[in-house]
């Protein structure tokens, strides 16, 4: 499984790098010691940074904020791609190539939305200890991130994104 994850991260390297960047930046902001800032390792940590365990709500934000940033960035690239390729189906060479590049970037960002399994599990453990009000607020995000982390690690998000992209190009 670790190789599948690593291969996916290589295929979607712009998103992998950016995800790693946001995670490291968040670690810096939260004062979390970074153990390994290599973004690309040939294992399940590909596209992530290794850091010391994080306590409390910080663990949620450390997983959530990079995901949110990746989502926003992905949308910025997805919009022109969706409009030009799927909605209008432009045929001009330049416009189509630029739109396809945007589509790849969007694909890459959306394939790197979720935290590593390690982070997700840590976030889940910390989530259980949060105050009731926080647990209610963070529940959807925490559940999505936990499931998403496994799905991303197993290549499910890659496959679903690939299918969506193919559908967009063909239908």
């Amino acid at each position: 499984m670790r190789y599948i994850n690593a291969i996916i991260k290589i295929l979607t390297f712009p998103g992998g790098f950016l995800r790693g960047f946001w995670e490291q930046l968040l670690c810096k902001i939260f004062g979390i010691p970074v153990e390994n800032k290599k973004y690309f390792q040939f294992n399940e940590m590909a596209g992530h940074v290794e850091h010391e365990p994080v306590k409390g709500a910080k663990s949620f934000w450390l997983c959530f904020i990079p995901g949110l940033m990746m989502f926003i960035t992905g949308m910025i690239f997805a919009l022109p791609a969706i409009l030009n390729i799927w909605y209008l189906d432009v045929s001009g060479a330049v416009l189509r190539i630029v739109s396809l590049i945007c589509l790849y970037f969007a694909f890459s960002m959306f394939t790197n939305l979720f935290p590593s399994i390690e982070d997700a599990l840590m976030m889940w453990e910390e989530y259980k200890d949060l105050k009731k009000a926080e647990r209610i607020v963070f529940a959807p995000g925490a559940a999505i991130m936990r499931v998403g982390a496994y799905a991303e690690n197993m290549g499910v998000t890659f496959l679903t994104n690939a299918l969506l992209t193919a559908a967009m190009l063909l239908i």
Binding site: L18, Y39, P80, L83, L88, S99
Partner: protein
């Protein structure tokens, strides 16, 4: 490795642990040897003791800066370094440096000592991460610019889709055409000089669909050709457009084939100028009728050609209507071919109820088909009810105001404006009649509207006046020169002024006799 660490380890920093076994002492010695070796390496190469952990993309400068930061951090924490670890087990030592006790003040599970943690917190950002952020910002900027293009074209298309959903096909068509012209304007500003921008194959397909729903598939021919040039018709995405193309091609091929086959007959009828009767073309009509059974021919195109043939001869109105109504069975595709022609024939025959039924059905199905209001107006004019005709005009105008989408200031179709002018002329309202026909003339002109224009300008400007001379030419309409303009238009197009109009100009007929008792379409 810095000097503090070395001192700490090699001199007095680390106390001998008496409880260590021989084997453990050997291991400690080995670690010390390794540290010495690291020290000698660090003199030749500026790397830190945790290079192995994370230096992807780190430049020499960055690493030197990092080393300096480490040294500073260590000196600041010199006191902490002094702690006694003699009674600390190996499991409690920092897993990074292995020299100090883990930092357990915050959490027992922390694997690193305070110094190492501080250093790790100050880990510089990965250069690839920064580069990827910068690249993403640039790419996102480009994406937003392209998104702007996509949006500016997609907005009218989205608007058009909404009109299509509501059944307002004409407005939808206007929106789609707005998107197409938007793409054209982008191309005009393109520096490459090539057609880089286009409104997209789907927009073209939507234009075709809108034309189909408006009953004017024939008008979509150009757009289908564009789609074909863009290799879209072979894609399953455009199967509907491909079907339309097949219908049109089959229609055109059949028409062409019949025209070629009966070329001499068409020429003969054309030269006869209405002197022939329906009985003269019965045989060719029967021959053509047989083609309907042949799958090679489009039966609707065959019917259309039969109706076309009937136009050249006298007393063929019923036959013409019969063939045109066959086209009605072909669905929306041929509506703009058969409906106006059938309405005109029925109007000439005085079959006003039939005209009303056709027009009301079409308007009900597609409220934007305001051009069909002109036939309803003509019925009232024929019945000498200009007031009622104007009421119909107001209804059409209301429809246009309420549901019509236009990129330009809204105007009524010129055909309706012409009928409006006729109504005002019949009511004796000179100013309104002239204003309406003027407006109509500015929008478009056909033989009927040109005749109405000429007659009204003659009636209100020329009649009873003497022509003046300007540059050696006679000027009849000294008011606004309108009569002279339209007469020269007739002349340049070799079209004769309508007989009734000519008679009215000669004082032989009144306006009522021309518009009410004369032809519904002045030709």
């Amino acid at each position: 490795m810095d000097e503090n660490k070395e001192k700490e380890l090699l001199e007095d920093g680390v106390k001998e642990i008496d409880t260590l076994s021989e084997q453990e002492k050997d291991e400690v010695s080995e670690i010390l040897e390794n540290l010495k070796k690291t020290k000698s390496d660090s003199e030749t190469q500026p790397v830190t003791d945790w290079d192995g952990l994370a230096q992807v993309g780190g430049t020499d400068d960055e690493i030197v800066a990092e080393t300096a930061a480490e040294e500073s951090a260590e000196s600041e924490n010199a006191e902490a370094d002094e702690e006694d670890i003699s009674d600390v087990s190996e499991d409690e030592l920092c897993i990074s440096c292995g020299k100090r006790k883990r930092y357990t003040e915050l959490d027992e599970d922390y694997l690193y000592c305070k110094v190492c943690r501080e250093k790790m917190k100050k880990t510089p950002m990965n250069i690839w991460g920064i580069l990827s952020l910068l690249a993403t910002i640039v790419a996102a900027f480009i994406a937003i610019v392209w998104c702007g293009y996509g949006f500016s074209v997609a907005v009218p298309v989205i608007k058009g889709d909404s009109y299509m959903k509501d059944g307002n096909f004409r407005s939808a068509l206007t929106c789609y055409q707005e998107a197409l012209s938007m793409a054209d304007s982008f191309n005009q500003t393109s520096t490459t000089g090539q057609a880089d921008f286009d409104a997209g194959r789907k927009t073209y397909a939507k234009v075709v669909d809108a034309y189909y729903n408006l009953g004017g598939l024939v008008s979509a021919q150009d757009y289908l050709t564009y789609l074909e040039e863009m290799n879209a018709l072979s894609s399953p995405r455009y199967s509907e457009a491909n079907e339309y193309k097949k219908v049109l091609d089959s229609f055109a091929d059949t028409c062409k084939s019949i025209q070629t086959e009966y070329q001499s007959l068409f020429m003969e009828l054309s030269y006869a100028q209405g002197k022939k009767d329906i009985s003269d073309i019965k045989k060719p009509l029967a021959e053509i009728e047989k083609l309907k059974a042949d799958s090679k021919y489009d039966k609707y195109a065959v019917a259309y050609m039969q109706s076309y043939l009937c136009q050249f001869v006298e007393n063929a109105e019923d036959a013409q209507v019969k063939y045109l109504l066959e086209l009605k069975e072909g669905g929306k595709s041929y509506e703009t071919i058969w409906a106006p022609q059938v309405c005109m024939v029925y109007l000439e025959q005085g079959k006003f109820d039939e005209v009303e039924k056709i027009c009301n059905d079409i308007i009900k199905a597609s409220p934007e088909s305001v051009e069909f209001y002109q036939y309803l107006m003509k019925i009232q004019i024929k019945k000498n009810n200009p007031e009622k005709a104007l009421e119909i005009y107001d209804k059409a105008e209301k429809t246009v105001d309420e549901i019509y989408y236009s990129t330009e200031p809204l105007t009524m179709p010129y055909t309706l404006l012409t009928e409006k002018a006729v109504c005002h002329a019949l009511l004796g309202d000179k100013e309104k009649a002239l204003s309406a026909i003027e407006e109509s003339f500015l929008l478009n002109v056909d033989v009927h509207s040109a005749n109405v224009y000429a007659l009204l300008h003659y009636e209100y400007h020329v009649k009873g006046t003497k022509p003046s001379e300007k540059d050696g030419e006679k000027v009849y309409d000294s008011k606004d020169n309108g009569y002279d303009i339209v007469m020269s238009l007739f002349e340049s197009n070799s079209i004769a002024v309508n007989e009734d109009v000519k008679a009215a100009m000669e004082g032989k007929k009144t306006l009522k006799e021309v518009f009410v008792d004369g032809e519904a379409y002045l030709q």
